[in-house]
């Protein structure tokens, strides 16, 4: 069977590597001012064949390269995880300033928290007017929380009180957000010294 990406997979890989390199430049540049690496970890992936086909089916789209690269926009996916809240926004701003990058859509789930407690910043960009990429930016706390919530969402046989689990997950999300804020305040205070 031909790849859902046609013969574009190498180009997708190249665009992803370019974005990772650019983020590397942003990161090193920020580190000069901050005295610390703003990024705790950086992940990039091209969505697997199976996942992309499954997503096409889920969205009622034909399993074609057009669906995969134009209709669906996260063939290229990046996740940037920062230790500090302000750095999430700084990296967002610098990504948009890149010449080859154009913003298509963004959702600030940090400000507009999802009802379950999920927080992150999602961006969909268009690179070189040709390839879309989805970038998620978040703090370590948000990432930890999201990993647990993801685990819960995909676990098949949950025993126990789901209502209680969900309300406690929300409470933890809100406590983690408070701690992120306090740590950022402390970092501000330290750099004022």
């Amino acid at each position: 069977m031909e790849s859902i990406y046609g013969n574009k997979k190498p180009e997708l890989e190249e665009v992803m590597q370019m974005l990772l390199r650019e983020i590397g430049v942003i990161r090193r540049d920020m580190a000069k001012d901050l005295g610390m690496d703003p990024i705790e970890h950086l992940l990039g992936r091209i969505k697997s064949e199976d996942s992309m086909r499954e997503k096409c089916r889920r969205k009622g789209l034909p399993e074609t390269t057009e669906s995969a690269l134009v209709q669906i926009r996260d063939a290229i996916g990046l996740r940037v995880v920062c230790a500090f809240l302000d750095d999430v926004y700084t990296i967002h701003d610098r990504l948009l300033a890149l010449p080859r990058v154009e913003l298509v859509e963004e959702k600030d789930y940090i400000r507009h928290v999802k009802p379950n407690g999920y927080r992150s910043f999602h961006m969909i960009i268009l690179v070189d007017g040709t390839y879309y990429a989805e970038i998620q930016l978040r703090t370590i706390s948000m990432d930890t929380w999201a990993a647990l919530e993801h685990h819960l969402k995909y676990k098949k046989d949950i025993r126990g009180n789901l209502t209680l689990i969900n309300s406690e997950l929300k409470r933890c999300a809100d406590e983690l957000a408070s701690t992120d804020s306090s740590l950022q305040t402390l970092r501000d205070m330290i750099s004022d010294l």
Binding site: R171, D174, E175, A177, S178, S181, S182, Q184, T185
Partner: protein, 222 residues
């Protein structure tokens, strides 16, 4: 609300129990001090009424046992002894109130209501200002989204919300929020104000805390 009454005079015990039940209280009744102590050990009560002169163990002994075991539930003492010294002894032993016999039923009821009032009436958890709310039970600050504050942040914000538009000095704040904590000082207050500033803006509350270290702080609408 759950009450324990320990009174050895059967008729009086019965009358008080029935009256409290009629006013919505859930009542356990015992007739001596040992039974009273067993009950408070086993169950949680919102208030305890103890007669002083009881068989097996007197009310003051029950009371001091309770306080030693860190059972802090409010206690009202009943007794025929009405001298000042007796009242002082009872209050000093850890009682919250003292009612000499004979007493009017409506006074006993009023005093029991007063003792249990704090649990319900004053516990109104949510305060609001400038379109944001603070739940002092859950420590939740909400406007466009919500965060959970630490205890001290919540108490500090609550203090500001009780004094909107009024300048508060660091000393005033320390007295009301950090009370007995010797380690806290003007720097602590300033840091916590900074925490609150960022959290208020994080939830997009239309309010701000003005002021600086060394001067007074003030909560106003943005």
């Amino acid at each position: 609300m759950k009450i324990l009454i320990a009174e050895d005079t059967t008729d009086l015990n019965r009358v008080v129990t029935v009256m409290l039940q009629r006013f919505g209280y859930d009542v356990d009744s015992v007739f001596d001090g040992e039974a009273a102590l067993e009950c408070v050990d086993r169950n949680g009560y919102d208030a305890v009424i103890l007669d002083i002169m009881m068989p097996k163990m007197d009310g003051l002994t029950v009371l001091s046992n309770m306080r030693q075991r860190n059972i802090t539930v409010p206690v009202l003492l009943l007794t025929a002894k009405a001298e000042v010294d007796d009242r002082v002894a009872g209050l000093d032993a850890g009682a919250d109130d003292y009612l000499p016999k004979p007493f009017a039923m409506k006074e006993l009821l009023a005093r029991v209501n007063a003792m249990t009032r704090r649990k319900t009436k004053y516990s109104k958890g949510v305060v609001e200002y400038a379109g944001f709310s603070l739940n002092t039970d859950t420590l939740e600050l909400s406007a466009e989204n919500s965060v959970r504050l630490s205890m001290k942040e919540c108490e500090l914000l609550h203090l500001f919300m009780l004094n909107p538009g009024r300048p508060l000095s660091a000393d005033y704040i320390l007295e009301h929020v950090w009370r007995a904590d010797d380690a806290a000082d003007a720097d602590t207050v300033h840091l916590y104000v900074r925490y609150l500033r960022r959290k208020l803006s994080g939830v997009a509350a239309a309010a701000q805390i003005g002021g600086d270290r060394g001067a007074e702080y003030i909560l106003t609408e943005a």
